[in-house]
């Protein structure tokens, strides 16, 4: 890696770079024009020069309107362009592989769908859309891969997510970008983008753990979820078949999408969104599940048919 250039290793990176260099072109031109004018005026109208300077203009409405409206038009254009790219970071692609990332002072813990875990490293297959779902066990962290031009805060008490597709095989820097305490500068590592077959090999090798969903199923029984949520249970609790991605109707009349954030809240703050037709009897699992276990349970619920 040279000190001069930064690799653009994802689809988002290419889109961001196009916008960045367009902005650089526009702002650079205007800045240069202002500097040239300032220097030119400073020389031409220096005290004692022979330049004509009778009746200097003190105002010019057309000029003022011109340099108000021209930037406005430019800015609206840049805004729309940027908004389009920004929106694509958060689009839900059904083909995207979900990877759970948990921040913790001062490391990144990653869990892949098949149960493979890694710390301070992230392996991804080239060309495969990815959706990172981020959580944190303590303070705010921010998952930052400069080569992908993506950055997303992990915020206590909620899930955040960001999507992209790695496009170039290689090894890239991973950082924490939100100040998180003593070893903030050392919270990071490497992202490896591998060709698909190599990634598949990596995913399997040295992975004795069952898949994330299987771990979730295990937790589902061990933590007592199944006692109420299995069909045939004597307790009146919502059936969780096909729950993920469904629209759920709540007791107070709202309808919400059962996404990762909703499922997570339902475990930790069950009284907030009570499903219509059920009593608010579920206890909170706050403090009994860590972020990794919650991710496993969600992975399981996504596969529960």
């Amino acid at each position: 890696m040279s000190f001069w250039t930064l690799p653009a290793a994802s689809d988002t990176a290419q889109r961001v770079d196009r916008l960045f260099f367009a902005l650089l072109g526009v702002t650079g031109t205007v800045t240069l024009a202002i500097f040239v004018l300032m220097i030119f005026f400073s020389i031409r109208y220096r005290r004692g020069s022979r330049a004509a300077r009778e009746r200097p203009p003190t105002s010019n409405r057309a000029l003022e309107l011109g340099w108000t409206l021209t930037p406005l038009a430019l800015f609206v254009g840049i805004f729309v362009w940027a908004a389009g790219v920004y929106g694509s970071f958060y689009k839900r692609d059904p083909a995207a592989a979900t990877v759970y990332v948990v921040g913790k002072q001062w490391m990144w813990k990653v869990e892949h769908a098949n149960g493979r875990r890694e710390i301070d490293e992230l392996h991804l297959p080239v060309g495969q859309p990815v959706r990172l779902v981020l959580a944190t066990e303590d303070v705010i962290h921010s998952f930052y891969v400069p080569a992908f031009r993506i950055k997303q805060d992990a915020v206590p008490g909620r899930y955040t997510a960001i999507s992209f597709t790695p496009t170039t095989v290689g090894e890239y820097r991973l950082h924490c970008a939100e100040y998180c305490g003593t070893d903030h500068a050392h919270m990071g590592g490497r992202v490896f983008v591998l060709p698909a077959p190599a990634f598949a090999r990596w995913l399997e090798e040295g992975n004795p753990a069952p898949s994330l969903a299987a771990q979730g199923f295990d937790l589902f029984r061990r933590k007592g979820c199944s006692g109420c949520h299995e069909p045939g249970s004597s307790v009146h609790a919502p059936d969780l078949k096909n729950i993920a991605g469904r629209i759920v109707h709540l007791a107070d009349g709202r309808a919400v999408l059962a996404d990762e954030a909703y499922l997570r809240d339902s475990m930790l703050v069950p009284k907030r969104d009570v499903v219509a037709g059920y009593e608010p009897i579920m206890p909170s699992f706050q403090g009994q599940l860590d972020e990794g276990e919650i991710a496993a349970l969600i992975a399981y619920l996504k596969e529960r048919r």
């Binding site: 300032m38 203009p57 970008a177 903030h184």
Partner: protein, 525 residues
Amino acid sequence: MSYLAEGFSLRSWLTTNDHKRIAVLYMVAITAFFFVGGAAATLIRLELATPAGDLVQPETYNKLFTIHGVVMVWFFLIPSIPSVLGNFLVPLMVGARDMAFPRLNLASWYIYVLGGLFTVATLIAGGVDTGWTFYTPYSTMFSNGNVLLAVAGVFIVGFSSILTGLNIIVTVHRLRAPGLTWFRLPLFVWANYATSLILILATPVLAMTLCLVALERVFHVGIFDPALGGDPLLFQHLFWFYSHPAVYIMVLPAMGVASEIIPCFARRPVFGYRFMAYAILAIASIGFLVWGHHMFVSGQSLYAGLVFSMLSFLVAIPSAIKVFNWTATLYKGSITFAAPMLYALGFVGLFTIGGMTGLFLAATAVDVHLTDTYFVIAHFHYIMVGGSVMCYLGGIHFWWPKISGRMYPEMWGRAAALLIFFGFNLTFFPQYLLGWLGMPRRYHAYPPELQLLNVFSSAGAVVLALGYLLPLGYLGWSLLYGKKAPPNPWQATGLEWQTASPPPKHNFEHEPVVHQGPYAYDPVR
């Protein structure tokens, strides 16, 4: 008899109600804090000269950038121009004998000092490591630093800002000289007026937010920590609701200073006076609506992000108008290049770069990559140091004859201005590149391939530090040995130049009457 000769005892200074003396008290206090914050910055740059974190411990480094931020923002930049130059000049410029509430004015200085003592106590007790932003839950639940002391200092100094703002507003409304209508006010007064509005409307929000942080830290009940049923993003919303307008508290008065200096040394009226005044008001009001652009990657909703992005582009327009108007003011002028003019022209250039790079950060998708990197550091230092500090120094030189009654040595003044301009760019321009290359901020150690640019930056910091020490030396020297200043050494318009240098206790021998607008300069040759 000049205000300086009204009494020489310490007591006569510490019990004064004279706005000019209070301004001098402020100048002494903020200069002390400027060098405290500067010392922290120097250590930060020394540490970053090498990629490994080998000079200080990570905890120490975190405390250094925290104290640098807290001191520079609240104890230097925010009071710099309003409380020193504004305090000294607003009553003079509107033709008043003093501020509307002189005792309140003195009280605000004492409150500033009290807040400052808390900050010094924080340092003595071992410092604080939260960053100047005090983000929760780190500040409330995780930090081992002296968060409460630091927060108390910032809370207290806020009331000093509020009282100064209140005083300036009432003074401008009620104490203008006969004939001095709103659109005859110098732009410096407009700028301080708009700044004061932000001071009184934004500062209390910070004060209450910090109270809630303290409550949460002490009693473990809170509305910010999700473990307690709260929301950390609520803190960010409240904090930036203050802290983004705070940027305009720092830069609007600087714009006011530039708008006084440039017409004076171009010997012609400022171009587009009314547009300049409206632009100041537009910046102050739209500035309240853009805070969410600090939170594009924080997990706030996509749509909130887009609204804040659009509003951030809008607030850039009045700033652009001002840059165009300053440039146009040079056209057909008769320009000389004394030290204040060098500072003012330097300001326009640096502010332009700082403003243009702000557009990158307003553009949501680009901000995702650049936020929390050195690009942001470079951007806001171009605005706050390249903008506010350049103009503060420019203003100090411009009005030094009025404040001290002495002329500063012109060659030294020019040399310092050029040195600071060069040192500043060497320090901060490489940081734009570092940000683009993905160097996160608040990093005690960094990837080795980024060292070259960091070395440039650290070298620049040394030059900059020398540049800042120079004025301290020769301005101090001029107090004793400088040439006596005439009432109007720059042949400037403006009421402050129509009285003696330094002015008498109640500013004017006779209440001035105003017959024309500001900047009635005639180009010569």
